[in-house]
């Protein structure tokens, strides 16, 4: 702890304490009469208006991925990292097509998780189990990415980093995580919803200051772009190829344009298949709350684009670039940049913003995964008569277990580019596309066809990602590989395989008249806009009029 800056450290700790207090106080915010119900613990009472939903979804979607992983990729490889910007443009028009329908049908039937919908739509427990399993699995690396983000900030702060003992080294991370785990346990979705306000204020503050201030220190935007362009065109001594690209290229070998587009499209379709994004959506009060948010959320993406440019600022600042190179970890690019550019008190604000910015989505993700486990695995297969109270208790414990699982991911997988953690989750979650998005529009797909397609996509995607190697890692080195002569995001090629199998098998199974299962939803329920949240389940303890 010799090189810890006291001012920075104090500000981070103070802000962290404020957030912890808010996390516990959140249990009393918009207090329900009966907290022991999944609608309350897991969806905050399903009553958030446009304003709160905007903060909640913003806090949910813009994570350590945005603040650490994207600029790290930009710092290391250049323009390919901007796929994240194209992705956050595309995601809202894509989601506009299906998300309001999911909100409506879930509100009418009281669905809490995406797997609830799958079960109701296809009358298939197996398919619902597959989707719940996929959701939980895909969230693990995504939560792990949040941990890696926190770790990056702590490393640059010098907290614990000087120790060689793994436990002492990661102790601050464990403390942050424990606090997160406890307030999630107590307050449920209300905690991240309330903390999201603090998070967004801090982040807007430091991003706007950084965007206007740092270029003045680095000789202007023109200089930053010039340095980046020269840097990425230079030849790497190890691979004998350019270090990166400044503009996506269309060369026959190493074309990054196709990779760029496939990563952007795959990520955009994947985002609202993630259980945590759906949790944030289902907590909204009205259908119009959802569609209105799709109009306002792109404004948040402007931040992401600006944050991505921090990667170039880090390239253009010799001190930061040298620090990152010395540490051999490009995740440290943004924290080092801030530390070198800002006075230490402002660095503290920025660092606290990043840490809190990772804790909020991690909380929502663990709640979403816990709801999936409780509703679609525990209650469905082991205890069909579980009371709402027991379900809520189960979910609380499951949220703790999920976080431990994520910790394993964070430790086990290589993090040369932590963005791969998110892209790996994306490969898995995309396999829910045919059953979930397809199911919102048509009952044509056969449930067994969807299940087979899902299995094929999962196996292909996992194996393909496992087999990608590079100079530093033997496995899991990247999330794109080469199919038919093009570098393409594995998630996208896997879901195409998934879809083709689902279509072909549906034709066969329909011809063979294999039973299709019952559909409990009605067409008009997909556009319904009921004002009242569905009454808690009949067995609700202490139900009130």
């Amino acid at each position: 702890m010799s090189n810890v800056n006291v001012t920075t450290f104090t500000i981070v700790v103070v802000l962290f304490l404020i957030v912890t207090g808010a996390g516990f106080a959140a249990a009393r915010w918009r207090r329900p009469q009966n907290m022991m119900h999944l609608d309350e613990w897991g969806l905050g009472g399903r009553g958030f208006g446009t304003f709160i939903t905007w903060f909640l979804l913003g806090g949910d979607l813009y994570t350590a991925y945005t603040f650490i992983a994207v600029p790290a990729l930009v710092f290391g490889s250049g323009s390919i990292g901007f796929y994240a910007v194209a992705y956050t443009i595309m995601v809202f028009p894509i989601v506009f097509i299906f998300l309001p329908r999911l909100w409506s049908v879930s509100r009418v039937h009281g669905y809490i998780t995406p797997a609830d919908f799958i079960r109701g739509r296809y009358g298939s427990r197996g398919l619902a189990l597959a989707s719940a399993f996929t959701g939980i699995l895909a969230l693990m690396p995504y939560i792990a990415l949040q941990l890696v983000g926190i770790q990056a900030v702590l490393t640059v702060m010098g907290v614990g980093a000087s120790s060689t003992n793994t436990f002492v080294k990661d102790l601050p991370l464990f403390v942050a995580f424990l606090v997160l785990a406890i307030f999630t346990y107590v307050s449920g979705l209300r905690a991240p919803a309330l903390i999201a306000f603090i998070k967004d204020t801090l982040i807007y503050l430091f991003v706007i200051v950084a965007v206007f201030y740092i270029p003045t220190r680095l000789g202007g935007w023109g200089h930053i772009f010039d340095v980046a362009q020269t840097h990425f065109a230079s030849i790497s001594p190890t691979t004998k190829k350019p270090i990166g690209t400044f503009i996506p290229t269309s060369k026959s070998i190493g074309s990054t344009r196709f990779d760029f587009a496939s990563l952007a499209l795959g990520s955009a379709v994947a985002l609202f298949l993630y259980p945590h994004a759906i949790t944030g959506t289902l907590a909204a009060k009205r259908r119009s709350t959802v569609s209105r948010n799709l109009i306002y959320l792109p404004l948040y993406s402007v931040l992401l684009a600006l944050i991505a440019l921090f990667g170039y600022m880090a390239v253009a600042d010799p001190v930061t670039a040298a620090n990152v190179k010395k540490a051999g970890n490009s995740q440290l690019a943004v924290p080092y940049l801030f530390q070198h550019m800002f006075p230490s008190w402002f660095t503290g604000i920025a660092f606290a913003g990043i840490i809190i910015g990772a804790l909020v989505p991690a909380a929502i993700m663990s709640i979403a995964a816990a709801n999936l486990f409780t509703k679609n695995i525990f209650t469905e297969f082991f205890k069909p008569d579980a009371s709402p109270e027991l379900q809520t208790k189960m979910s609380r414990w499951a949220s703790l277990v999920v976080k431990l699982g994520a910790l394993l991911f964070a430790i086990e997988l290589p993090h040369t580019f932590s963005i791969n953690l998110q892209l790996l989750g994306g490969i898995w979650i995309l396999q829910l596309g045919p059953m979930l998005i397809g199911g919102l529009f048509t009952r044509w797909f056969h449930r067994w066809a969807l299940l087979t397609g899902w299995l094929a996509g999962m196996v292909f995607g996992t194996l393909a990602a496992y087999n990608v190697s590079n100079a530093t890692a033997l496995h899991w080195a990247a999330s794109s590989d080469i199919e038919f002569g093009h570098t393409i995001y594995i998630g996208l090629s896997a879901v195409v395989l998934n879809l083709v199998i689902a279509v072909v098998l549906t034709l066969i199974l329909r011809a063979a008249r294999v039973p299709e299962g019952t559909d409990e939803t009605l067409p008009e329920q997909y556009t319904a806009d009921p004002e009242q949240a569905p009454a808690p389940a009949p067995a609700a303890v202490g139900a009130t009029p």
């Binding site: 595309m90 809202f92 028009p93 503009i247 996506p248 209105r292 684009a305």
Partner: protein, 85 residues
């Protein structure tokens, strides 16, 4: 009941082909112009110090907001007409 509502929706789209097409075009264009990289994977023309690739992506964000706002307005009209029928 179910049948009537479902066909009612279909006829709303058929009765207002311009509104429906408007929504479809707004959404499709929004996706296409971000997806088709050859349009914007270039250095020039620059805007200030920003190469084309970078300012195009930045400006696309507010454009998306406006496009989605328009699409929502059109959709409300479409649904309003449906209820009036």
């Amino acid at each position: 009941m179910t049948q009537a509502t479902a066909s009612g929706r279909r006829s709303a789209i058929a009765a207002h082909p311009l509104l429906s097409a408007g929504i479809a075009i707004l959404i499709a264009a929004d996706i296409f112009f971000a997806l088709y990289t050859p349009i914007y994977a270039r250095l020039t023309p620059k805007l200030g110090d920003f190469p084309f690739f970078y300012w195009y992506l930045l400006i696309f964000m507010p454009v998306t907001s406006v496009a989605l706002w328009l699409a929502t307005v059109l959709q409300k009209r479409l649904e309003g007409n449906r209820e009036a029928q």
